[in-house]
Symmetry: C2
Amino acid sequence: MTVADTVLSGPDGEVRIGDTHPFAIIGERINPTGRKVLSEQMRAGDMTMVMADAIAQVAAGARILDINAGVPGFDEAEMLSTAVKTVQSVVGVPLCIDSSTPAALEAAIPLAQGKVLINSVTAERESMERLLPLVARFGAAVIGMSNDEEGPQMDPQKRLAAAKKIVEAAADHGIPREDVIIDVIAMPIGAMPEAGRAMYETIRLVREELGCNVSCGASNISFGMPGRQEIDTAFLSMAILAGMSTAITNPMHRSVRKAILATDLLLAKDEYGSGWIADHRRETQSPASEQG
Amino acid sequence: MTVADTVLSGPDGEVRIGDTHPFAIIGERINPTGRKVLSEQMRAGDMTMVMADAIAQVAAGARILDINAGVPGFDEAEMLSTAVKTVQSVVGVPLCIDSSTPAALEAAIPLAQGKVLINSVTAERESMERLLPLVARFGAAVIGMSNDEEGPQMDPQKRLAAAKKIVEAAADHGIPREDVIIDVIAMPIGAMPEAGRAMYETIRLVREELGCNVSCGASNISFGMPGRQEIDTAFLSMAILAGMSTAITNPMHRSVRKAILATDLLLAKDEYGSGWIADHRRETQSPASEQG
């Protein structure tokens, strides 16, 4: 089956996710989970770090920005709304709204300019019933996690079956398959030696059988191992060759960004290396902005 | 077509090259081309650096060692013979004898213990007529460069045609296809944006149509670009996923070695990460032995 482009939009226009476009990094940094200073600022209504993270991630190559405002005990709808407005006041990229709370989505999505991506629905009946009507109502796209009530499965056929449930339920709500991006769920290679092969096979199956774009949260693959960055970068290059077209990750991590740019170059998505060379120049001119 | 293992041997026993085995690094360092000190030592009959390079490359993960003794104006047969004896006096891996001079091969190969790999024949009639009889006589394996009289071609079908000429000519000499490793010839991505895609397609074609193991000299892909190591490492991971099982490269380059080890891990060829973890320990214990 042909994989059709997923099209998102923001103040600066469209971003297309698909085989003929550069890999779409969804910047993951605007998320208070595990980030003490950001969390404290967001609780106090201070958006300084949110703005800085938005600008820095876009400068480092993020084509879409994930926004999460889940701080236990605080009003997610209000915090998410403020973050959405703040981010789009400083950058023009499409947004990935990271919440599974309908009230927060209903408050924040209308404030976002353009077509957003919602992160995420699972193949669990309750999750689909709660979120897919909102995806349809707002004309959004959605990330579908390929696990159902049984939890994440190693078997590529079982993951395909979970992904298919989401695509079919989405269709029942009038959401076309190109607006469903399937997350094939990276599992730790240290504990599960077949996790890499299973992912590459799942990517192939989801593309061929469902015609959907594929994403994942890449860093889980290296969980528990030493030298995680080198594992993550090899994994990303291989997953992109296998057909992955977008991922939620941190473009401020040099090795991740370099692996993605090199892979675009090697797949003829960066003709004559203009993107590669521009990143090299940017680094040479401002080494202080880099992180390991 | 199934790709059968290429089996080489040395004093310490067999090394198998193929899909179910860890990627086989052929250490490239023992080559006086462009290495002034090594060249001077070899000309003076001093094998100190040859020995050190042999030991260091095997410690860094080389499963086979390439030996080149081509110094203009000196007796290649004698120098190659001395290098072969020296290397196998300190390490037990199989050798890749890097010469296209029949007299040098005839002198050196009988001195090598086990089954060697000869580097390399091309699809040019003259090259095949000169070298394939020697490959057959010594029961060796051979690297076949996928270019003929027309030079290296971008078109995967043309490269396949050149590779097929070698496999057929080898068969005429009684050399089985598993003893022919096809080098699919990396070309510079900066000048030829399709070079990566063409390589991955050529790897697939050579495997499916000829059933041969595939190799390449990886670093040519990044020629002329800034940030070559990051391009090379992404390229290696992708080429291995596409089906490449061996390459002549430098295991002393940390990023190359790490990319190969990570790729083995991700393809379930390093169960529970024992190779990955051993390399991490080795680095932690002797950081001084590392190069960029």
